[in-house]
């Protein structure tokens, strides 16, 4: 259970790792938008190619990236089944009893799968795989700081996220310890009816909540002892600086979107 890592940060020093987290968030959003611009088979091909290029730049083993897709396999399968069987079109491929499969359905299904895959890989490449959770919250805070004008507690939200992320491994470890202690008293978590199993969780959940509140209390005191009083006038240890590489990547991403639109316009193979 200790192998559970939040997100899937893969330590490295590639171009993608070094980008400013603020730019990476914007890039990820743009990349997702770009994936929805695709309308022809050729723009989809360009999109797939871009995902491969991103993986190569990040120097993260492709097997590691593919493993990250496993959790959404079911969603993809579901999308395929729905689209293949329910989309109505003009070119009938299979017509058997109540099953009617149209070419349009198959194409929609394929494009959906490709789109989901690319979105997952893209956000992974820009965010989860190459950015530490702490850098990510830092980026979010800075990116949304203009919203402070509207009295939105941006700093507080970012601090909450940081603390929540920091506490996840601690709580996992705590859960393991409590489970071991209750097992030593004969607790059984794996047999019995659903109701019995739910009841068996009480001896874990109560101590876990007690300790979580205790830790929260201690953390609050420790923060106050160090004069924490919100984001007002607070300086940072690491100040984010946009570099040339950040601007180049941003320009490249906008160019990529434009190229996709051009492909749609001039090479509309199997246009959807």
């Amino acid at each position: 259970m200790t192998s559970i890592t939040l997100g899937q940060y893969f330590p490295g020093n590639s171009l993608l790792h070094r980008l400013d987290p603020r730019f990476k968030i914007v890039l990820a959003v743009l990349y997702i938008t770009a994936s929805f611009l695709c309308k022809s088979i050729w723009s989809f091909a360009a999109l797939a190619l871009s995902a491969v290029v991103l993986i190569l730049i990040s120097r993260i083993p492709p097997s590691f990236v593919l493993r990250g897709l496993r959790p959404i396999l079911f969603i993809m399968l579901f999308t395929v089944v729905l689209n293949v069987f329910l989309t109505r079109g003009e070119t009938l491929l299979i017509d058997f009893w109540i099953i009617h499969i149209y070419l349009e359905g198959v194409l929609t299904a394929l494009s959906m799968v490709l789109r989901i895959t690319v979105i997952i890989i893209g956000t992974g490449m820009f965010l989860t795989y190459t950015t530490t959770p702490i850098a990510l919250t830092d980026g979010i805070e800075r990116l949304f700081s203009p919203l402070k004008v509207f009295h939105l507690p941006v700093h507080e939200f970012a601090m909450m996220m940081t603390i929540a992320l920091r506490f996840i491994p601690i709580l996992i470890e705590e859960t393991e310890k409590i489970m071991a202690a209750q097992k030593a008293r004969g607790a059984d978590f794996s047999t019995g009816s659903l109701m019995q199993r739910a009841k068996a969780l009480i001896p874990i959940l109560v101590p876990l909540f007690v300790s979580a509140f205790r830790r929260a209390d201690e953390l609050a005191v420790a923060m106050e002892c160090r004069c924490y009083r919100g984001g007002e006038g607070r300086t940072r240890m690491t100040v984010l600086h946009a570099t040339a590489a950040d601007w180049v990547m941003l320009a490249a991403m906008i160019l990529f979107g434009a190229v996709l639109l051009l492909i749609n316009r001039f090479a509309p193979g199997f246009a959807l």
Binding site: S3, A181, K183, R185, I202, P203
Partner: protein
Amino acid sequence: MNTLQLEHISYLYSAGTPYEMRALDDVSLTIRGGTVTGLIGHTGSGKSTLVQLLNGLNRPTAGRVLIDGEDIWEKPKEIARLRYRVGLVMQYPEYQLFEETVRADIAYGPKNMGLSTEEIEARVLEAAEFAGISRDMLDQSPFDLSGGQKRRAAIAGIMAMRPEVLVLDEPAAGLDPQGREEILGGIRAYREKSGSTVIIVSHSMEDMARYCDELIVMANAKLLMQGSCEEIFSHPEELAAVGLDVPQITRVAELLRQRGLPLPESIYTVEQAAAALRQLMGGVGR
């Protein structure tokens, strides 16, 4: 009876991953039934891993754990039953309390054993007495107790299962001297009444010298020494080499000896030192 044997035990954490770590390396030892055995070693020497092998919370990567000559992993499905025979009190056990009353919390283990209501009640009262939990405390919420009381309530929760082997991982850590005394005294009372084997993990050489018949010294995932307190504490250099020490009073006696006082070499507790000094002074200095 209640003899524990470890045969060539090895234990790896995260085996087969880049994070693989060897916590125990070919450890073989025998803990005689009915004794109080102390397990000492520096932080990360494998003590806590070892105690979690004794009640089957962890399964050794290699080697066998035997209780009265039987391999505990012979029938993996019945490992839960073994946990009633070998009771384990983990570090900081007060954090596992969860019931509404102390009484109900102590009864959790016996209830899991499927005992009758009367039997459970009898065992709760008996365990509470060993652990020094008064009758009126039994009906309080465990979260209203003091730190030391919570610790004792948690230990009572294991004692109520009447384990033949009672294993305690740092039972007195972080308590004041009186709290330590109450807990270790309770453990001694339990052992005298039940005749069980007791294994205590501790960093306090003083407590070890006072309460243990035998000591096991672990260092760097391996067994370093096993023997009586006299045998172990007569090797101060070896202990110091692995970050351990002899009891402070033993060092005081050693320094006094160097200055010419004819004290015996086997002084490990304050009581022994006091007796020896009194004898030297001709019984006058009471």
